[in-house]
């Protein structure tokens, strides 16, 4: 009757490989990494689901998967009601406010109330600017928000930055940090009750495997 414990893993991007490696260190090897969205693992009680990191918080909240590896920033952006069981250490990044190098905006205080902000993180951005009492216009874009200032779509972007390289390459400077983030193991709240022993075992294996 009981189905396998489903673990969602970022299907692409910078979080994919370290996530797979973290599982390997916990002795859970993914068997069909190359082909499938759903993959068996070396432990028959667990199966891996490859999903967009951005969607993982939702999958976990609604119980489509029991566990999920994704960024703390994404869990907050999605306002996902999940348990963050473990800080996996990798995937370090900051959610920052950035403007073009030559912009007259030097700090957050210089931002006018009618400014346009391009971002993949509309929720966190709105909250941040509301907290400053600024009703900026939030433009939700997918990927490459760095492009927005170049094309005049927005004067400001809110995006994640791990090394700062991409921002630099696009002549953007950071004027504020909204939050620091790392990769987390998120758990569905009901699954944490109904599959407590399996999930706790999974947790201690991850811990034993040594986090980054």
């Amino acid at each position: 009757m009981k189905r396998k414990i489903r673990v969602a893993i970022p299907s692409k991007g910078r979080l994919r490989q370290p996530s797979i490696q973290a599982l390997q260190r916990a002795d859970i090897n993914i068997l069909e990494e190359e082909r499938a969205y759903v993959s068996k693992t070396s432990d028959p009680r667990f199966e891996a689901i490859f999903a967009r990191a951005f969607d993982v918080p939702l999958y976990v909240q609604y119980g489509a998967v029991d566990l999920g590896i994704t960024g703390h920033d994404l869990i907050l952006e999605r306002e996902a009601d999940v348990h963050e069981l473990l800080d996996l250490g990798f995937g370090k990044c900051r959610l920052v406010v950035a403007v073009p190098e030559n912009s007259t905006i030097r700090s957050i205080n210089d931002i006018s109330e009618v400014a346009r902000v391009a971002t993949e993180y509309p929720n966190l951005s709105r909250k941040y600017f509301e907290g400053l009492g600024k009703q900026v216009e939030i433009l939700r874009v997918r990927g490459t928000s760095e492009l927005a200032p170049k094309l005049g779509l927005a004067q400001i972007i809110v995006d994640v930055s791990s090394t700062g390289e991409t921002l630099l390459k696009n002549n953007l400077k950071v004027i504020a940090t909204i939050l620091d983030s790392t990769c987390r193991l998120a758990c569905n709240k009901i699954a944490f009750r109904t599959s407590e022993s399996e999930i706790n075992e999974f947790l201690s294996r991850l811990r034993r495997g040594g986090l980054e």
Binding site: M1, Y62, L85, I190, T194
Partner: protein, 348 residues
């Protein structure tokens, strides 16, 4: 103007304004649509249905036990398996959180840690925030309790911390009532459970099944809420189940609804009086009987019966005592038989 997000407030209003002289305790139930707006990415259903009960005018552990027992039996009755209920105590958590003296943000972090049941992180947090030893011990013990009977062995907490001792006693008493109902093995303790509703004062609970990641419903005790609508303080407890979630859970468990195996019969006759009598007799016997109101000829009646999925067509003579012609649509055969005998043959 507001759309109701839940039914407890409307029930509280009805109790105070429309039922002032009703003898207490009052037991009420509802099945209603409620509305919630969410700005989340997923288009959540903004209207959904709840079925719930309220037990008003009583604050005994027996009242809490009755509501919990009804919750569990309701879920079992609709066919769900592996039902579990997690119980917390809103007053206990509130009083102990208050005793920490932390600001709201840190209280939020602490509540999260209690939910993760991560002892190491909890200890670290409490050390960083300099918890008094007794309070520290209370948090550690309560967050590790999985069962209500473990709560009774939690060492007495200082009376400085609000009504903590009353709350702990209350949990043990409810546990004893549940044991009398024989359901204590389905009920778990979860110190961090809050239900995100402000008005709860006593035990709070959530029902769930494996393989459905959202609670099916829940409820709790709210002893200070009804007085907001009237002048009297009236204790109460209740629960609400989300009907759509229950259906999803049944689906996830592979529940097959029993097919309606009722037999459908079409009655036709040149003698209307006899036909109506026959229809009534068949209905009284528990079968679905229809009168041929179109007064068509035999061929058309049979054609209609086949198309409409009717099992039998009965051609009634002038009286029910006389044998009728019974046409069986499945085998395409007719026979002459008295209606009583026919009913016996189909087990009516």
């Amino acid at each position: 103007m507001a759309l109701r997000p839940e039914m407890t407030a409307p029930v509280a209003r009805i109790v105070t304004t429309r039922m002032p002289s009703a003898p207490e305790p009052i037991r009420l139930f509802y099945v209603c649509n409620v509305f919630r707006y969410s700005q989340s990415y997923v288009e959540r259903g903004r209207e959904f249905r709840q079925a719930g009960v309220e037990l008003v005018g009583c604050n005994t552990p027996e009242a809490d036990g009755e509501v919990l027992a009804l919750l569990i039996s309701s879920l079992k009755k609709i066919g769900l398996k592996e039902v579990r209920v997690d119980v917390g105590h809103a007053g206990l958590l509130k009083d102990l959180l208050k005793a920490t003296g932390l600001d709201e943000e840190k209280k939020g972090i602490l509540q999260g840690l209690l939910g993760y049941r991560d002892e190491a992180r909890l200890k670290k947090f409490m050390d960083q925030n300099i918890f008094p030893p007794k309070l520290r011990e209370a948090f550690l013990q309560l967050s590790s309790c999985r069962r209500l009977d473990e709560v009774s062995s939690v060492s007495p907490v200082s009376s400085k911390y609000g009504k903590t001792e009353d709350h702990l006693r209350n949990l043990s008493e409810v546990r004893d009532v549940l044991a009398d109902y024989g359901i204590e093995n389905l009920v778990f303790f979860n110190f961090s459970l809050t239900r995100k509703i402000e008005y709860y004062t006593g035990i709070v609970f959530e029902a769930s099944v494996p393989n459905l990641g959202l609670p099916l419903g829940g409820g709790g005790r709210y002893d200070d809420f009804i007085e907001k609508f009237g002048k009297l303080k009236i204790p109460a407890t209740g629960f609400a189940l989300e009907i759509e979630k229950c259906l999803q859970a049944l689906d996830a468990q592979g529940f097959q609804p029993q097919k309606g195996e009722k037999i459908g019969i079409l009655v036709t006759s040149r003698f209307r009086n006899a036909a109506i009598k026959a229809v009534n007799a068949l209905r009284n016997a528990g079968v679905v009987a229809l009168l041929d109101v179109k007064k068509s000829d035999e061929k058309k009646v049979i054609k209609y019966a086949k198309l409409a999925g009717i099992d039998y067509v009965i051609f009634v003579d002038s009286s029910l005592e006389k044998p009728a012609t019974v046409y069986d649509a499945k085998s395409d055969v007719s026979r002459n038989v008295k209606i009583k005998t026919f009913l016996q043959s189909i087990g009516g």
